[in-house]
């Protein structure tokens, strides 16, 4: 079981009278892309939020590198090396690219209350990072709101890559993007995986899941109903599994 990076077992979560997760379980292997697919309301986002610390599950266990973990805030998840790129990107529009890349992890110099930002160093490092990842953005001092959708997504992913130590979670990474931008973001994801990171991706786009992932988990009505290797399943079969038209492949 050495190649299992993350394991979620029997995760349950109820919001008021709504059972969002009814004992969902899945695993993600180290160094590959694992996809979670499912219809709206199937519980994908809730499950992912349990892993990122935004939601604390009512019951169930989360294991990372074989160790049980319990996250009660995004900070804990990040401390465990998990970075998340949210569907709504979680970027501060009016702040610059470098400020977003270093958000809440700013480099400072000084002691006690007299700690000042190392602005120059952060700008230089941010510049190097976007260049290394071949992210196509203008100067890192530009505010994020001036970027295109693809560039924004690239910045969000770059931030994940910059800080992740082992696992990056992408929630609908290309939902709002055009074809060309989608291809660029997918290229970026591939480079990240080739560099040894484990990626968990939530997607509506079955073609994309086929292109990117090695393993796919299907969610329906708060449960993970099927897990298959991507190469063993066709696009139509995935659609069938998601809608419940077919129950297994």
């Amino acid at each position: 079981m050495n190649d299992i990076k993350v394991e979620l077992r029997d995760i349950r979560k109820t919001f008021g009278s709504v059972e969002a997760l009814k004992g969902a379980s899945l695993t993600a292997r180290r160094g590959e892309v694992t996809a979670i697919v499912g219809d709206n309301g199937a519980g994908k986002s809730t499950l992912v939020k349990c892993l990122t610390g935004l939601i604390t599950p009512d019951s169930g266990t989360i294991t990372i590198d074989g160790k049980d973990v319990r996250f009660s805030s995004p900070k804990h998840a990040r401390a465990a090396g998990i970075e998340t790129v949210y569907q709504d990107l979680a970027l501060s529009d009016q702040l610059s690219i470098w400020q977003n890349l270093y958000m809440d992890r700013e480099l400072t110099a000084g002691i006690g209350p007299l700690r000042f930002l190392r602005r120059g160093e952060m700008k230089r490092e941010a510049h190097r990072l976007v260049a290394d990842l071949a992210v196509n953005v203008p100067s890192v001092t530009r505010p994020v709101k001036r970027l295109s959708g693809g560039q924004r997504q690239a910045v969000a992913i770059a931030r994940g890559v910059m800080w992740a130590r082992g696992l990056i979670i992408l929630d609908e990474p290309t939902a709002a993007l055009g074809l060309r931008e989608t291809a660029q973001v997918e290229g970026l994801i591939r480079r990240v995986v080739d560099a040894g990171e484990t990626v968990l991706v939530v997607s509506h786009n079955f073609e994309q899941v086929k292109r990117l992932s090695s393993q796919v988990w299907v969610m329906r009505a708060g449960n993970v109903v099927q897990g298959v290797r991507t190469e063993d399943v066709s696009g139509e079969e995935l659609v069938g599994l998601v809608t419940g038209a077919i129950t297994a492949v």
Partner: protein, 331 residues
């Protein structure tokens, strides 16, 4: 850098430079930042043409001294507005701080301690606002509308509406003494401005304040403690109200129990003129300072050219709405 450049830019430098120029002019930041300085220059030129006395050193330095309290309050309001909020209680905080300072003086406390009491009063009002806005999650407008009346009431109750004379030379010193004509109180306001500039742009807290003001949900997702950041922002705002109270008491020589709502209006107006986004997340320190100076110049200038003081709120109101519309038009 993998900046994408179209072939036109590299082959034709003239097209490229006009393009850069056009992009700069289309940049709304430039316009919002330019509003206060450009208006200040236009205003100074206009008033000087009508009455050359406007642009004399004694007149300028006296107007700058008058702008001290508006500057300090505008700096405080900047921190609330950067959080996409507002602090309507700012002017009554000045009154309450002045009252507690007078009471402390009556109780026989040393002057420096009286000043600290005024600042602590402002800080407490800010903390009250911040806690209710951050944790109880009631909109800032309602919270500070309530605390405005609450604080106003407290200062009337504590003082019984009566001012306390503070005949201390050390206190009036800052309002009277000058360095080369520039009064101490104005220099104090500038020093506070420098300090707050460092806080806003060179500390982690400043970045977090901008991020929370820009988008609280994104900030929360990044692990920022949104409520705590808001509390700190309102505490700074309240503290500036306390500093304003000390400066006002120093200026007048006695405590001032009555709330002067003109201070609130001017502070918010200066922030808007200074190009700080009312929707949060974008701020400067120099902008509100220039905005406050602009409004003071406007008021003094109108008096100097013989316009009745009754017109001054009207003109300030028009200027503020025009500035806000200008910014909106650039979006």
């Amino acid at each position: 850098m993998s900046t994408q450049t179209s072939p036109v830019d590299t082959t034709n430098p003239i097209t490229a430079s006009t393009r850069t120029l056009r992009r700069r002019l289309a940049n709304e930041d430039l316009w919002t930042r330019a509003t206060a300085p450009v208006a200040l220059v236009l205003l100074t030129v206009t008033f000087t043409i009508v009455n050359p006395k406007f642009l004399t050193w004694p007149s300028l330095t006296s107007m700058l001294a008058d702008s001290t309290i508006p500057i300090v309050l505008a700096l405080g309001a900047t921190f609330a507005v950067t959080l996409a909020g507002i602090d309507l209680s700012l002017a009554s905080t000045v009154a309450l701080g002045s009252v507690t300072m007078g009471l402390a003086y009556q109780a026989g406390l040393p002057l420096w301690l009286c000043c600290l009491v005024a600042m602590a009063t402002g800080l407490s009002v800010g903390a009250l606002n911040g806690v209710i806005i951050g944790w109880v999650r009631i909109p800032d407008f309602i919270v500070t509308l309530g605390s405005m009346s609450l604080v106003m009431g407290l200062s009337l109750i504590f003082s019984q509406g009566k001012p306390v004379q503070i005949p201390e030379r050390a206190l009036t010193f800052v309002s009277i003494t000058s360095v080369g004509g520039i009064r101490f109180n104005f220099l104090i306001a500038l020093a506070i401005g420098v300090l707050l500039h460092i806080v806003l742009f060179h500390t982690r807290f400043g970045t977090h304040l901008l991020a929370v003001g820009d988008n609280p949900d994104a900030a929360r997702a990044m692990g920022l403690k949104v409520a705590r950041v808001k509390l700190a922002g309102y505490v700074i705002c309240g503290l500036m109200g306390g500093v304003g109270a000390v400066l006002l008491t120093s200026y007048i020589g006695s405590s001032q129990p009555a709330t002067n709502t003109d201070y609130l209006l001017k502070a918010i107006a200066a922030v808007v003129l200074g190009g700080v986004s009312l929707f949060g997340g974008r701020a400067t320190i120099i902008g509100p300072i220039l905005g406050a100076i602009l409004l003071t110049f406007l008021q003094s200038g109108l008096t100097l050219v013989g316009v009745s003081a009754f017109y001054s709120p009207l003109v300030i109101g028009i200027v503020v709405i025009a500035a806000a519309m200008l910014m909106r038009g650039r979006k």
